[in-house]
Subunit: 275 residues, 4 copies
């Protein structure tokens, strides 16, 4: 389990989300309260949008709390749209290429959760990434593979539907070759224009996810855990929904990859039979 | 607060102390129970004696639990005398040069604890290191400075007395310019022939320290926390004592730097007056 | 182009190959003379055999010349069989998982060279790695993929034939989707019992490779470049041959993957047609 | 010998100096032409001024050419005043704390050159740093010590005079305890308002230094080596001068620490006598 925080709104210093609040993302890196492990020290990353359509990306393998580069960067850089992540590895190596967020073109993506029995079908998951995107496969995580498959499924035209299809394909593999729970996730993604987030699980234990609009700041924070313990106004995002954030407004849609799984299962089964 | 473990006896794979036991040093790096912080993820190190009089040294800034090099090294290297350390920084940067153990010539040294108000007299502490040893000052920690001052005070001829004098000089500085508690420490040190350990505090809160002789293994383990929760035979080392380990035998001597502090205080005071 | 050195014989300190000689591997990391780039500073690694059937592995992303851990390790560890490598990236990220040698079970493998147009068929290359070995795919290099495919092709039973088949499959892909020159390589590999090396190219520009037996030392060195400029006794390994080193003896066999390529090309073509 | 580049003018992406030009700083990191070593791969750093009085700082120990974080940062961050540095160690460890630039409060500083026989008086140099600045002593380089001593000598009120006095004190130590050449340096420094640079040597071999005003860009570049081999308009800065850059104008003043050395030599001698 990892922890993450995203922001969209009037430009702020990154540190206002990442390190300043009482239960900031940095604080959650060694004292998370709403997940199994309180320690998220297997690397970190931040993707931010600035003067260019493509996001900046800074990732490293140190615990987030001890990196002076991160401290300096978040104190200097202002952005109106950014994603930040602290990682607790579920097995994959601690390496920059395995740290979130992942970026490709204008897109950024980060993930918290697990894909059941991923080690048993990692190769099949990689096979779902088309040649044109395979050069972007730098690490070995399920999260990066999910992102690239979602890109292939059409993030550009319909982010919700593309991520739903990609998730369904992973669930199909987990059912065929992996283990339950097949998928648990929260994820944030952006094309530099809008911020999207999803909360989902194939069982009833989706990871925690909250959002809060700040009038003072003129911005929306979307987070694994509320940034201030005592602060009101944090709304829990319902399981199995996909949120599109637009200023103070949130559009909530159903996110139901399970409905698509059967179709993928059949094609997976025929592929497996053909092997 | 950091955690450490040392071993002297028949050669064993380093992993038999560092990663294999149920409450191994690696386990303590994310689940320590006998100190304020359960997380010791600000770097690690191991110094081991082999075919040469000088020890080998491997240190890095990752959490110990996630470093494949450490895992491989401890699975391959056998040693009859080694020191291993996981670090929780008390403020100094996470950098290889600030990781324990420190080595110089045949000596190795590692430390857990604190020097009260060290930031206020760091320069004075450095000035106590003579020119001949100053080239060995690589980092910025109180621990490395204490080691180098102890070397200057004569570790080679009388380890206990040298470390006592060095500690007294640090306590004098902490009294004159720092803060209480002036010194709390456990430390292990070796010249490649013998293993020494000390437990001390200027107040009544010396960090925990234990040793245990294993007949099976033919070796002595000296540790911040017992390596197996359920295992008997762990002896707590008394506060304010210095131990010399020789096979299954332990020679325990008083360690009383406080008795020497007055003399150093006077010289410190006259130096400060002269500034 | 990278540089590497391997050793098999009476146990020696690793530094006797890696850092001590006048044109040691460390020296070649910033002053190589027999390849395009004199700088090999994109990470390094060493795999060595000791008391266990599996090799130890130490890899890091710093230039080899500046890593104190490497210096200490090579001064302490003695081994009768080891592989060491300094890397000049041909495009893939500088990451520990992309550093050579690669190890799996008792096997170790390192490589210097290039696979023509690899980026265009990286996914196809990954697909040649069977599920059972796919968990060992940690990085993104052509070299690691080649090693894993060679394992799948039967390194355990016939190293030469297995590496020949794996190479042929890569050449077939390079012909179908990549670019010329299709394959240039030198590689060293070992199962902990014997040291093997290969020199090969699909054109007439195979990278340099030498071996030299030392009576004094009782050992065989196999290297990209002679370790001493003035020293006699260095034998150039012929292109398109596979060497098995056994004490002072060298068994040289033809290495002709080109003869196998046609068969793989047909199957590759039919697979591509089926896509 | 290191290489560096600084910029003051209309805000530009950092990459326009650091990575884009044909002989950019990144290019100089592996192909410098005007210094002894063509390789500057022992770490890098960039300090930039943005929305805050204090500069941002990003430093790491990888070669500059292979760090994706640096590539992304320089592609995203715009600044009207920044300093960038690639390092070739003259002996001190490769560690983030030994990488340039160094920053303190609003000041940033970077250096190329050498202090003769520094190892023999490193402790004396540290002693010149007052207590109030000693907490900022993070590494072990001569450059950081020189910067902190210059701060103590009054960078805030008169940068040229302060750096001259600090340099004189180092030269005095090099004469008393070190070796010739006593000091060779180019340095750039800034308080976030103005950019300053110095070129100096106690012998006739000051490192190279150039500046060039770009009308197109509306900015001044100050560099170890011209950023484009074929480009005109690069002015060599004379030895033993201190430059203050103000828009397209350059104020050049004499920089003559040698005139002050005698006074410091006498006080150094009396201190040494008192030891």
């Amino acid at each position: 389990m990892c922890r993450w925080a995203a922001y969209a709104g009037a430009p702020i210093f990154l540190e206002e989300i990442i390190s300043r609040p009482g239960h900031s993302l940095i604080h959650q890196s060694h004292g998370a309260t709403q997940c199994h492990s309180s320690i998220n020290a297997d690397g970190f990353g931040v993707a931010w949008y600035g003067d260019r359509p493509e996001p900046g990306l800074y990732r490293d393998v140190l615990p987030a709390w001890s990196d002076p580069n991160l401290r300096s960067l978040t104190a200097q850089v202002k952005s109106g749209l950014f994603l930040a992540h602290v990682r607790a590895s579920t097995g994959t190596a601690t390496s920059r290429n395995n740290c979130h967020p992942f970026v490709h073109g204008v897109w950024s993506f980060m993930h918290n959760g697990q894909v059941g029995g991923y080690d048993h079908f990692r190769r099949d998951a990689d096979m779902m990434i088309p040649d044109t995107l395979y050069a972007a496969r730098k690490g070995a995580t399920d999260s990066e593979a999910l992102f690239l498959v979602a890109l292939a499924e059409g993030l550009d035209s319909d982010p919700r539907a593309a991520l739903e299809r990609a998730s369904a394909r992973f669930i199909a593999l987990a059912r065929a070759k992996g283990a339950a729970p097949h998928l648990r996730m929260t994820a944030a993604l952006s094309d530099g224009k809008r911020l999207y987030a999803v909360r989902y699980a194939t069982d009833d234990a989706a990871p925690s996810l909250y959002y809060r609009w700040s009038d003072t700041r003129g911005g929306m924070a979307v987070v694994s855990e509320p940034l201030e313990a005592e602060e009101g106004g944090w709304n829990q995002i319902a399981s199995n929904t996909f949120c599109t954030f637009d200023g103070a407004k949130v559009q909530v849609e159903a996110f139901m990859p399970c409905k698509l799984v059967e179709g993928y299962l059949q094609s997976t089964a025929s592929e497996l039979a053909a092997e």
